[in-house]
């Protein structure tokens, strides 16, 4: 195995739920017999993960998605060696750091400095190594003189900043992140993300659990959607996120009416239940299909569709992404107030842009038709591609027409 690799081989994890009787059985059983333990505890077993096969390559950034209790955190803790699998094998190579609860294990009575040393050593560094990285840690944490005071005097923000600073200073091959960025102020989260992005560029493998689907989409290369301890979908993040969104919305109406199940039409790029099929997506300018567009020019996206099974409600949507996967803009017929009550036969629908003020660069376009509740009829990622050209290579994604006015005139 190469450093940064994570391998799950048919891994299952079963928890015995705590109960009065079971606790006694556990102590006795743990001491004397494995067999009686299993038998006695079976009625309260909770299968958190079942038959997980997973291979994460070095440098890959994986987002774990799924509803609460689907096994995300358990998977993370197995990867981190905090839990041991009930069956199967978990292998990892290289130094692992878990950002599970920032500042976990800080002792309130001793100073931040001493806590940093101890936490760093707990994370696998030697005392010397922690001391060498101290400047870096202090700079990131930005808590100034407080480092020499007992941790109990810290604000919760300082606590979290110091915890994060130590954890990332360890310079791991594998970083496990569990919802930690849900805490902290915006500026801190931005700095954390920046730090994580730099670590990612260095080739650190990351597995993160998040409920922030935007962040998952922006940050991870790969999404894994877990439900009831099993992998439901595994692929490029955007698709898995959309699939998850569809399912979450789908769950709500499942009982109301029977619909064709969502299935993956094209591995990783396209899925839906097929009630409506998108036949073609064209980006058009000046009356013809284009792949190149000058910045600021008018354009139109035309979707050709065929309805296989008449649907009661529909929403057509488009999502523009930058080359790095950033969502540039998303709009759909529902939000724009278009009436979408019945769709049959074949047809075309166009989204017309008076001008496209994108900065020069490559963009991709997702096109989708789905029910108002989110259930995908046909969700097609990267259905279209567009290269925007401009005389000046403005950084960023937005290139609005603009001018400067001031004491030196107008330009």
């Amino acid at each position: 195995m190469t450093p940064g690799e994570v391998l799950f081989d048919d891994v299952s994890k079963t928890f015995r739920l705590k109960g009065r009787r079971v606790r006694h059985e556990t102590l006795k059983g743990a001491l004397f017999s494995r067999r009686t333990r299993r038998k006695a505890a079976s009625p309260v077993d909770f299968k958190a993960l079942a038959g997980i096969d997973l291979k994460v390559r070095p440098g890959e950034v994986v987002a774990l998605l799924g509803p609460n209790g689907s096994g995300k955190s358990t998977l993370l803790k197995l990867a981190g060696g905090i839990f041991r699998p009930t069956s199967g094998r978990v292998q990892t190579e290289g130094r692992i750091t878990a950002l599970i609860e920032l500042g976990a294990g800080f002792h309130p009575e001793i100073t931040g400095w001493e806590n940093v040393i101890i936490n760093g050593m707990l994370l696998g560094l030697s005392r010397r190594e922690v001391e060498e990285r101290m400047d870096d840690i202090l700079e990131f944490a930005g808590i100034g003189d407080f480092i020499d005071r007992p941790v109990k005097t810290y604000s919760s923000g300082m606590y979290v900043r110091l915890g994060f600073a130590v954890a990332v200073a360890v310079d791991p091959d594998i970083l496990l992140i569990d919802e930690v960025l849900a805490v902290g102020d915006e500026a801190f989260v931005a700095r954390c993300l920046d730090r994580l992005a730099r670590m990612r560029r260095r080739g650190v493998t990351m597995i993160l659990v998040t409920h922030d689907l935007e962040m998952a989409g922006a940050f991870a290369d790969r999404g894994i959607y877990l439900d009831h301890g099993r992998v439901v979908a595994d692929g490029p993040t955007d698709q898995v996120v959309a699939r998850y969104r569809g399912d979450v919305a789908g769950d709500r109406v499942e009982l109301e009416r029977v619909r064709s199940p969502v299935r993956v039409l094209e591995e990783g790029r396209r899925w839906g239940n097929g009630d409506v099929e998108i036949l073609d997506v064209e980006i058009r300018a000046d009356g013809r299909t284009v792949r190149l567009l000058p910045s600021g020019a008018a354009a139109e996206v035309r979707i050709t569709y065929r309805v296989h099974r008449t649907v009661d409600d529909f929403v057509f949507g488009l999502a523009w992404h930058g080359a790095d996967g950033t969502l540039v803009s998303g709009h759909n017929t529902d939000l724009d107030g278009l009436d979408g009550n019945r769709l049959e036969g074949r047809g075309q629908i166009s989204c017309v842009y008076e001008n496209v003020p994108l900065a020069a660069g490559a963009y991709t376009l997702d096109a989708a038709v789905h029910a108002r509740d989110g259930l995908a009829y046909d969700y097609w990622c990267r259905a279209g591609e567009l290269r925007v050209t401009a005389p000046v290579q403005w950084p960023g994604l937005w290139a609005p027409a603009h001018c400067w006015e001031g004491p030196h005139g107008r330009k």
């Binding site: 556990t26 102590l27 060696g81 905090i82 878990a98 976990a104 294990g105 002792h107 936490n119 707990l122």
Partner: protein
């Protein structure tokens, strides 16, 4: 034995955690580390007062009872203090166990070692008390006290074994935390700490039961060196060592059987 190897591999970490434990204990107090010295001293003063002024307890040979008691009480306090703390150490360090990958073995070990440091800091009081007693001609100075570190070996092994078992057991069976105090009390009174076995006038069968108590040997070896001024018989010393090793192996075995479920149960 893998238990001991693992602890040795993490000795640096155990070291800083012991220091943290000690630093945190005295951080907010004015006298700080002096308490390690002051605690046993005050204890000795109280016992000396109670047993010389109020009870006027004296051994037939005229040996000063407070010193006798003190020499038995010190190692016992090391043992019982460490075991009581071990019962809560896993839960106290739960956040660490559940969020950072560190072997759970280190926590009972840290508890034992920090109590050992406290014990070592109390030894000057013991030596000083013996010296004062010798100065006033109450009791000859026990020069064998220099061999005391040898008597500590079985004590540390025993304490480490019991602490490991209690630490792991208390995670699953929280009742153990309350139970431990009472069990320690029972053990305290059935061990020759406040009395000496020779001084007892009991039925021989009850005597045999008291002699079976592994702590009888441990206490006697320690007190012979620290108070009696005699080197214990080779057989007694060897027995104490074997008892210590046995309890250590048993305790770590119990720990290893429950190790995998500790993190989940915490």
């Amino acid at each position: 034995m893998t238990h001991a190897v693992l602890l040795w591999r993490h000795r640096a970490l155990v070291g800083v955690l012991v220091r943290r434990e000690l630093a945190a204990r005295y951080r907010a107090s004015i006298l700080g580390f002096f308490w390690s010295l002051l605690n046993p001293l005050l204890l000795l003063v109280v016992y000396a007062f109670v047993f010389t002024t109020i009870f006027q307890a004296r051994f037939p040979g005229g040996e000063p009872y407070p010193l006798f008691l003190f020499a038995g009480l010190l190692p016992w306090m090391f043992f019982s203090g460490a075991v009581l703390d071990a019962a809560v150490t896993m839960v106290d360090n739960g956040p660490l166990l559940a969020k950072v990958m560190c072997p759970p073995e280190i926590f009972p070990a840290v508890t034992v070692l920090s109590h050992l440091v406290n014990h070592l800091l109390a030894l000057p009081v013991l030596v000083g008390a013996m010296a004062v007693a010798a100065l006033f001609g109450a009791h000859p100075f026990p020069w064998t006290i220099v061999f005391l570190p040898l008597a500590l070996v079985p004590w540390v092994l025993t304490t480490a074994g019991v602490a490991a078992a209690v630490a792991a057991g208390a995670v699953h069976l929280r009742d153990l935390r309350d139970l431990v105090g009472h069990l320690l009390n029972l053990l305290f009174f059935s061990s020759p700490i406040i009395y000496s076995l020779e001084g007892l006038d009991l039925h021989p069968s009850l005597m045999a039961v008291l002699r079976l108590n592994p702590f009888a040997g441990l206490v006697e070896v320690y007190r012979d060196l620290a108070f009696g001024g005699r080197v214990p018989e080779f057989r007694t010393g060897l027995t104490a060592l074997l008892v210590g090793l046995g309890i250590f192996l048993l305790g770590t075995w119990v720990f290893s059987r429950m190790r995998d479920t500790i993190v989940e149960a915490v």
